[in-house]
Amino acid sequence: MKLPKNILSGWPVAAVLTLVILALSLTEWGPLQSLEHKSYDLRARMRQKKPDVPVVIVAIDDASIEKMGRWPWPRAYMADMISLIAGYGPSLMALNILYTEPDRSSGLEEIRGLRDTAEKSGVTSGALYSAILETEKKLDNDGQLTRAIAEAKNVILPLYFTIGDQAAASDANTPPFLIKSSRENASPAGTLQGKEVTPPIPVFSDAALLLGHVNVVADEDGTVRREPLLIHYQGRSYPSLALQAALRYLNIKPAEISTAAAGKLQAGRLSIPTDSKGRMLISYNGRFNSFTYYSFVDVVSGAVPASAFKGRIVLVGPIATGIAGFSVTPVQASFPAVEIAANVIENLLSNNVLARPAWMRYIESAFILLVGGFLAFALPRMKAGISALVSTCILLLWNSAAVWLFVSQGEWLGMVAPSLLLVIGYTVNVSTRFMVTEKGKELVESDSIETSKMLGLSFQGQGLLDLAFEKFRKCPIEDATVKDLLYNLALDFERKRMFNKAAAVYEHIQTAGEYKDIKERIGTMKQAGETMIFGAPGGRKENTVILQGGGAAMPTIGRYEIQKELGRGAMGTVYLGKDPKINRLVAIKTIRFDEIEQEQIQNVKQRFFREAEAAGALNHPNIVTIYDVGEDYDLAYVAMELLDGSDLCDFVKPTDRLPFAEVLRIVGCVAEGLDFAHARGIVHRDIKPANIMRLKNGDIKIADFGIARITASSSTQTGMILGTPSYMSPEQVVGQKVDGRSDLFSLGVAMYEMLCCRKPFSGDSITNIMFNIANKPPLLLTQIDPQIPQCCAFIAHKLLMKDISKRYQTGREVADHCGICRQKLG
């Protein structure tokens, strides 16, 4: 069986894996997305650079709180600061502090009540009244701040939306301060929707130049990567505080904002790439404190020069612990909202934008498919080292491209999905490879096709091209590797100038369709085959009679014309021959002397002819008559009586058991034949069912007298493989000299086998059988089958005595006993 290629290593796995990753990537599956975000964050950190924009931050920091008292401060502090900075001539101020309630903390109500009472009682002047007014004015923080904001003329205030599905389409009563800070937008495709708005108190809102929302929207993993540039509320779009500030700085009105182009927000000269929800990716300039910070207390105390603010965008916001809003950002886990706004402004003003254009997705998908193709088709064909190298290169190439695009071009190319596919695919491939090689160590048996291929290659390597072709023919021709093997074989045939054979191979390949240039080659081969004139292939010195070929002359051995092959035996081939002189059909048995040593061959041949001639003299009805012996070239042959019957091999099978009386008759006949031969000093040496013929007319004949063991016993020099020793006598087994009684033992084995269909001496190897013959008594026949008559069993066991002297001494005795026993059986 061929190694089962692990299913995991095949392309279907790679294909499924690719499609899964592709689907996950396109649907932005959470875990994959969060991995991608992690890679985004890493890249974001590499993108940091010193900001170069006129943005300063006035920070309400821990030092300010310490010096100016607990938060919240009286709003007058803020009013003072706004007035102060306004005096320095900033471009604009943006407050990241949302005052949604009027200030009631300062006792203003009391003073107002006092004033009302005074006015009601007619006191509208005087020191006390003016003191009341003075105090009221002083305590009226909101009033002061309103005035400061109004006087500064360039203050942008925050506003907050509760995000959610919109409550109502539009409201006729939208206050003017909201209208001036937004633009009408009836079709807010995909943008964030506000459910409820929380503006500063109306006095502030009216006084403010513009309002901008300060909603911070985090991604699923809680990290703030995007700024929602617009929030849609009641039919209008509201820019964020940062966008508002940038627009204001560039003198662009909110009404000029256009989101008509997909994936883009345009306003004046600004063109900002956005995602499907109208959000902008924030390119962080660095960790906290990348922008110029001034402590609130320093500003108020006048420690900061006016030049620090002139013409600049001044952001005011808290960064002190406990009062500021901190968010998780790619660059830092705790990042104040005011600096996020600063970053957004920087991004907008210096066009330092990050984008994820729509086509990125196509590139990623295409690349995922490409990686899939690599995993499915290229990787399995690579060696381990190469595959690791190539995979690493692909991984590095893609990821460095992604990093480069991000860092220097501001374009966000997905890293994770293709990398993940490559890593998982590679791991699967390597681990299955490992499993396969582990399996390889277990050495699984190969199937017959694989064996045929191997054998074919071996033969081809040996130059035995015909045999190789025979083997390759057994392999499925549809297999590309088989085609290749055949093609190479055909080329080998060509090299040997065996053009017809080459053509035959090409034609065999062609049965499975065209392949390479075989069509042309067949043409060339046929032509070459026709024009070439072949000499006789090799010397015609083959030692068997050549039967193939339609030659006119009838092949002969000696003077016998060969009609056909009758069969093949261990020693040689048996042919049907005709003696032309007397027109008699004979059986011709040829004997090879291959195994016999060159220097002995004469000797052995002499012995062979001597014995065969002696056997030829044996004229007995139970012995196959030998007519003639001779030799032709290297081939010796015996011409003998042609018999119409079969040997006894069939009758030792349980299905074709002979009646006991018939067994006795056969044994009796063989014994008579043996007796006749032994009396003339000729020992058969190889009595076995295969050498006993039972003719159609019932005659019993012993075949192969004298020649059976000649070749075997002669070839002692190099070693010769023994046939089955089952019928050997104990004296044959140990290599002693044998006489006729050895034949009787062998006859006993055959008789035993015919009686019970079992061999008296068996074993799982030649040597075990031999050992048993020499040492173990056979099982009693009557024990094996009680039906077997006593006298039959007696004859068989007496033939099988290991002690030669206890055996029957002559065939005559055996024949007589068989006769008596038959009479007993009736």
Partner: protein, 267 residues
């Protein structure tokens, strides 16, 4: 282990041709000797085919083929099993080649093969070609002959003395190319520093006694010299059969240089 190996095959004093063959492939760590039989060059063809096919098979395995012939015997090492697999393939090749060509009919061959890896030797053999191990001056016959007399001696039918004088001394009970199925004997040995292996055909051990072989190996520490000496002595005793000897000497790699060399070879 560092190996120095040398092999030699000689047709002897009597035979007209050489039906023995030998194979040394240091890259594969493969050593083998085959002794062919069968007239009309059949023996020569069989022994050479056996070794060629075995080598091709192992080369293909080293190139990533995963074909394995027959059943795995878990009791012995992978190396021994691989040898057996290759020998089974060679057996089939010879068997079919013999059936295809009348002049090759009946050809067969013995084989003894060793596959070395990291100080271990996987061994497979069929027939009466032998593997000897010479360790600290003691010679030990590792393989048991698959010959009639050897098996009869093992079973106590005849004595060792009778075996030496038996006319059937050369009758073997197993050989490649005879049947489609082949029973191969496999084993493993661990090699130690200073060990020497001798693979030989019966033309050597039939002429030269084990003690003499041991003495000759001791006398000539070089693999090459000892091969020449063994063949020379076998010929001087009559050289009745082809003589083949492959001698491999093993030495632990020593020193920095070999360590470095090893590192580079691994890399």
């Amino acid at each position: 282990m560092d190996m120095t190996v040398f092999g030699i095959t000689d047709k002897g004093m009597v035979r007209p041709g050489n039906e023995d063959a030998l194979l040394i492939d240091e890259r594969l760590g493969l050593l083998a000797v085959a002794d062919g039989m069968g007239g009309h060059r059949g023996g020569e063809v069989a022994s050479n085919m056996a070794l060629d096919v075995l080598k091709d098979y192992l080369v293909k395995l080293s190139e990533g083929s995963d074909t394995f012939m027959g059943n795995v015997d878990a009791r012995v090492s992978k190396q021994a099993n691989l040898l057996a697999s290759g020998i089974r393939l060679a057996n089939l090749a010879i068997f079919e080649a013999a059936a295809s060509n009348p002049s090759w009919r009946g050809m067969g061959t013995t084989i003894v093969a060793v596959l070395l890896q990291e100080g271990r030797a996987g061994i497979a053999h069929v027939g009466d070609s032998r593997l000897y191990l010479l360790r600290r001056g003691q010679i030990q016959q590792i393989t048991g002959d698959h010959s009639l007399v050897a098996e009869q001696v093992r079973q106590g039918i005849i004595t060792a003395e009778e075996a030496r004088n038996s006319p059937r001394k050369n009758v073997i009970t197993r050989a490649l190319g005879q049947w489609e199925e082949l029973d191969i004997e496999m084993q493993d040995i661990e090699l130690l520093d200073g060990d020497r292996l001798l693979l030989c055909s019966d033309g050597l051990n039939g002429m030269v006694s084990d003690a003499e072989i041991a003495a000759l190996l001791e006398a000539y520490p070089s693999s090459e010299q000892s091969c020449h000496a063994l063949v020379e002595v076998a010929n001087s005793y009559g050289g009745k059969d082809n003589i083949t000897a492959v001698v491999a000497a093993f030495q632990k790699e020593k020193g920095l240089l070999s360590g470095l060399k090893k590192m580079f070879q691994r890399g």
